[in-house]
Structure formats: structure tokens, C-alpha cells
């Protein structure tokens, strides 16, 4: 018997290292897709914005979670939405927001994308299931 496919929205609020939450979110995302479900959105909020920094350098024998998210997004054509207000406060910027803030460096590139909380609201209101990590 094949169960019906559901549209999931994931809210990631843990950093890419230091707590398990974001790793669990990633594993859950992989499991969903493997089971034939659809991920309508992955939204990074609070400490979750650190998952978007391409300046993280895990040890060679450890999981590179930022890269793992990128690979997941590319394989399944997902966008990775990052709350702009939460990100800028924590030192995660894309090229445009860095320029606007007079900064010379940035660390967020596609498929991660800075955006407003409106897209989290939209996902929370419309997905079949919303899971917070």
C-alpha cells in the first residue's frame, strides 16, 4: 500500500554545529523525499541562519552541513529561505545586503536566499505538515 504524498514545510532554528537540531532537520528532509513526499519550503530562522554560511569549515572527517543542504537543494530543486533580519544580526549576509551595510565580505550564496518572514508565514499557513527543528 502506498501512502499519499504530503507537502511539508520545515523550520530550522538550530545552528549548523553545536546542537543536533539542524542535522535532524536535514536527515528528516532526506527521509521525506525518499518516501515520496514533497518539501514546499525549508526556512532557516533564529540560530538556523548559521546553516547558510559558506565560511564554516568542519573537520575533514565530519559532515559539512552547509554543503549537504546545498546538495539537497540542487538535487531536488529546492530553495533554502533564510530570514534576512535574523541572518544580518548574526553575521550572515549576501552580496547585496553586505554592500548596503558597507561591508566588504559576504558569506551567503544561492541556493540559500535571504527573504522576509512572510514566506515562513505563507509556508506555515499552506503546507500539509509543518515541522520545527
Amino acid at each position: 500500500m502506498k501512502s499519499a504524498s504530503l507537502r511539508f514545510a520545515l523550520l530550522v532554528t538550530g545552528p549548523c554545529y553545536g546542537t543536533q537540531s539542524a542535522a535532524d532537520a536535514y536527515r528528516f528532509a532526506r527521509a521525506l523525499l525518499q518516501k515520496g513526499h514533497v518539501i514546499s519550503q525549508i526556512f532557516f530562522y533564529q540560530e538556523g541562519v548559521h546553516n547558510a554560511s559558506q565560511l564554516v569549515q568542519p573537520a575533514g572527517d565530519e559532515t559539512h552541513l552547509q554543503q549537504a543542504w546545498v546538495n539537497l537543494a540542487l538535487e531536488h530543486e529546492l530553495t533554502l529561505d533564510v530570514c534576512v533580519a535574523a541572518a544580518l544580526r548574526r553575521g550572515v549576509s549576501d552580496k547585496d545586503s553586505a554592500a548596503q551595510g558597507g561591508l566588504e565580505q559576504w558569506n551567503l550564496v544561492p541556493p540559500f536566499r535571504l527573504g522576509g518572514l512572510g514566506s515562513l508565514a505563507q509556508a506555515a499557513l499552506s503546507a500539509d505538515r509543518v515541522v520545527q527543528f
Binding site: Q46, A121, L125, A127
Partner: protein, 118 residues
Amino acid sequence: MNKVAFIFRTPPHGSASGREGLDAVLATSALSEDIGVFFIDDGIYQLLSGQDPSLVLGRNYAPTFGLLELYDVDNVYISAEALAERGVPAERLAIDAAVLSQSELQRRLADYNVRLSF
């Protein structure tokens, strides 16, 4: 459209969770009037009036909870048990909202099919 409940369970100091939860509530209120806001456990401290977070280099966002009414967020609930456990009378809170028993709170929460915790 889902009914989304926002559950505040952390104090205003120590982490930015409450502040960022409030931002999420206000953003969602622009798209739906059918949202609920719950204050349980240490989350009731979010609503204390007379806070001075500048002493811990924080911003006093508690008055922003007053915007909920303006944004037509009417379903705001506070745990009576959490208030009693912490010795906080409802009069010390910055907003007027329904103070509910644990069983009533659980019954209201069951109305929401999406729950986000801050």
C-alpha cells in the same frame, strides 16, 4: 488554510527566541486572522510590564506585544498555572488576555493544526 498557533515558552532574557517569535506572529497576522498565541511556562515572563532589558544590552520589545490587538490577533491565551507557579499576578502583565486553566489551554491548542514554539 492552516490554523497556526505560536507558543511562547522561554523568558525574554537569555535568548532572542521570544523576540523572534513575536516577529513571526506579526508577519503571519498579515496573512491570516486565524492564529493563536499561547504563553506557557517561562513564556509568561515575556509579558511582564516594567522590564528593563537595556541592563543586559537587550531591547525592550515587551510593549510590541501590545500590537497583537492592533493586528487583529484576538486569540491570545495565558497559562494560569504558569502564572501561579511563578507568583506573577495577571495585573503585572503588559497586555490583557485570557488566563486559562491547563485543561482549557490544551482544549484551545487542539484547535490549531500547526504549532510553532519560541
